[in-house]
Subunit: 258 residues, 4 copies
């Protein structure tokens, strides 16, 4: 890794992602200065950083569609936590972002992974339609919601789902993951005896799967999208703080069914 | 550090707090197994861990009074953040506690440090009463609140302050820090032309100062007290979740003066 | 709760833990100012906050022993994270503590909960010894470690375990949870064909169980203990920073078996 | 906002960023489904979210260059914290990302804000060159480094700086902020009596300034870039964990000058 006449680079053996020399940083085998800055978008760079190679234009388009979809959805619990922390500790914006990210867990966005796992289970079966029916029946029997399906506000259909599926089609990436998601959707409707929407996290699960992104890291992309959303809310909180209004309202709120 | 016949202990040269051998852990020069477990309270152990020696009974009493005072104050922004994160990511309680702790910043509890800094400034002066008057006048002139003074609910006097001052007196620890706080209180009232309470964080600043705890780490004790408070709220959130009620209320809340 | 002539207190209906009036804070039905500050230790107050009633002296002794045990164990991953964050963002100590707490997850301290769940499974059985044997056999068959058993450094026996068990005995609290732990220990040794230590987290699981603390909140007490440990490391990091040394060492470290 | 025959949408009055109806999400006045998903890149969407309007192509190019530059720089303290937390609590990836983000504080990336503040000070002066000289002289006199200048590895010149300045030029955005940065660079060299590089954070401060992004939120964009970097390290940690190697190395590390 050393070049004669240069001082030895710092060799980082605990990671294979990047190495630095005085006059460049090499990331995933590419020169940051020659190949990346000014040459690739943030989305392409994020894909390179995580997956190890640059995305195709089709993968970039689909990943952009997913990240754009997940960035913002109003005053969510994650956003509220970030805003309260920011107005309590304005000296450290990183704390507010961190608090918001800590809310990107299993209940809301974690359904991306849950749905991706079901898609993988269906794809691993020799009879995908029968397996989808089994998945739906099992959830129905145990009265658990199927991850990636249903939405309290966006019904009968989550409008974001259609946009993501369209982006996958336009990119020419629709394949096994989308097919498995459609099998699941059919089976979920049959089991419920009514139409249940594929929600945005279900569509994202299929989309990221078609991009070759493993289920174990999908939550990371959701966190990335929400991170940008949180920064927007923190600037708004800096300018027109909602902390005291939220605090007052939370103190007075009456919990359900108590 | 090694003993013949024993396997070599892990030698930690980046810290002087603790070392381990197979049959003991040595913390601040004391044997965890012989001297500490079953022998000291959590408060004594925390003082040892941070300050390097066990506290006197007087220091323990005053530190206990401060920690008990700061643990709980209802549905604060920090608590709301922790509860929202817990119900969003119940798989990771540590995330909920972390989110709550991130709200222990400069605005609320940071006033302990701010007041401690003023106490130190007064104590460094040759004429403490005149210096206290200067502090009060400066804050008055720039319309900034004096850290450790005033409270929106607990007025005319913060009842916790009297309790902490009484605990300091009972322990026989009242000294220069309490005297400086009283000089500041007199000067603040004079400058305001009316009575302004010493709040709990002002009393804690003097109390921890009398215990020999440096201002730079005082926030750590406030975080510790709040940590216990947060655990209580997380168990309540597990049993009777308030997340959806808080979320709904926050969405509908109307910010002040908008 | 209201006093004639005073403005109405803020009523917090989302929580039943505490309410405030201008001249007191009521926590779990007790007056903070009359009953708690200067009257109870931090450990007693933490038990009250979480469990809803003050502990007996026996419960206090056992809880103190557990918290003292878990506070400090040298330069752990959690401590390293806290120190790196503190030296990267010294403006916000709460961020350093939060980062350290985020490392109190399933791998290290989470074994408290894992062991508590096994104890509860054994206790729910009509034949506790047979159930303990089944637990050990199942883990052996799937080559999973039994939570609460084994330690890389503290062998053949974890010295902290004996201390905690002694504290439980001294307090007169040894009961069904300790008995179940001993059944498990016997069965684990039999299944392994050699002695495997009960480690500190196993002993803590039984101890907190004897105190009446539910498994679902046990991690909270571990977090509380580690919180105090982290504050000690942060003060040491303020005075003699180890961040650059850790950073350099981490860059140069060679992972196992790579 | 309501449509006849539909249930009323949730109206979020604590934020002006977004509102939802059953069949769309409106963000900054744009339809998520018609205008944004599949139409804009993540970088454009992030700018819209934070700044309130879509960026020009020039702004997008410069923002992409900054985000690409800041994403990855090897095994930094922030990355180490994230990896340690991930391997300690693999059940909650959001905790690992949060821990890493907590390390994006004043010491490393905060220099973006520090340099931006100096640029704003220079720009507010009637004689920008003289003001730049005063800034450099003040820092020299108090032996403080000038934020945005100097780098331990990347010398005599930080190669990333040239790339960012080139991206600003190519976009036609070079203006007052870049001019002020160049005045500062000249003055810093003069005061030091030798060449000191503008580092990447100095170049980013000027670049984001030319994009119209206020200094108070610049750290948010740095956090966003690092967030993507952290996700890459977490996937590598999932596959080839470095936690134990880092832990061992940290325990054995010898701090400087101790």
């Amino acid at each position: 890794l050393t070049t004669p006449g240069k001082s030895a680079p710092a060799v980082a053996t605990t990671t294979n992602i990047a190495t630095s020399t005085p006059d460049d940083v090499t990331i995933r085998g590419k020169s940051l200065c020659r190949d990346l800055i000014g040459k690739v978008t943030f989305t392409e760079m994020a894909f390179l950083q995580v997956m190890g190679s640059l995305p195709t234009p089709a993968q970039t388009a689909v990943l952009d569609a997913c990240l754009v979809t997940l960035m913002e959805h109003g005053m969510t619990p994650s956003v509220i936590a970030a805003r309260l922390v920011n107005s309590s500790a304005p000296e450290a914006m990183q704390g507010a972002v961190a608090a918001g990210i800590l809310g990107v867990g299993s209940v809301f966005v974690g359904t991306v992974e849950g749905c991706a796992a079901l898609i993988e289970r269906v794809l691993a079966s020799s009879d995908t339609e029968a397996e989808a029916a089994r998945v739906a029946a099992e959830h129905r029997a145990s009265q658990r919601p199927v991850p990636g399906f249903g939405h309290p506000l966006h019904k009968p259909d989550d409008p974001r789902t259609a946009c993501i599926l369209r982006a996958i089609d336009s990119a020419g990436l629709a394949g096994r993951h989308v097919a498995a998601l459609r099998h699941l959707a059919f089976a979920v409707d049959q089991a419920a005896g009514k139409h249940v929407t594929i929600n945005a996290t279900g569509a994202v699960a299929a989309a990221l799967g078609e991009c070759g992104i493993p289920a174990s890291i999908m939550r990371g992309f959701a966190i990335l999208a929400r991170c940008a959303g949180l920064v927007g809310h923190i600037l708004e909180e800096q300018r027109t703080p909602a902390m005291r209004a939220i605090w007052d309202a939370a103190e007075r709120a009456v919990p359900y069914a108590r």
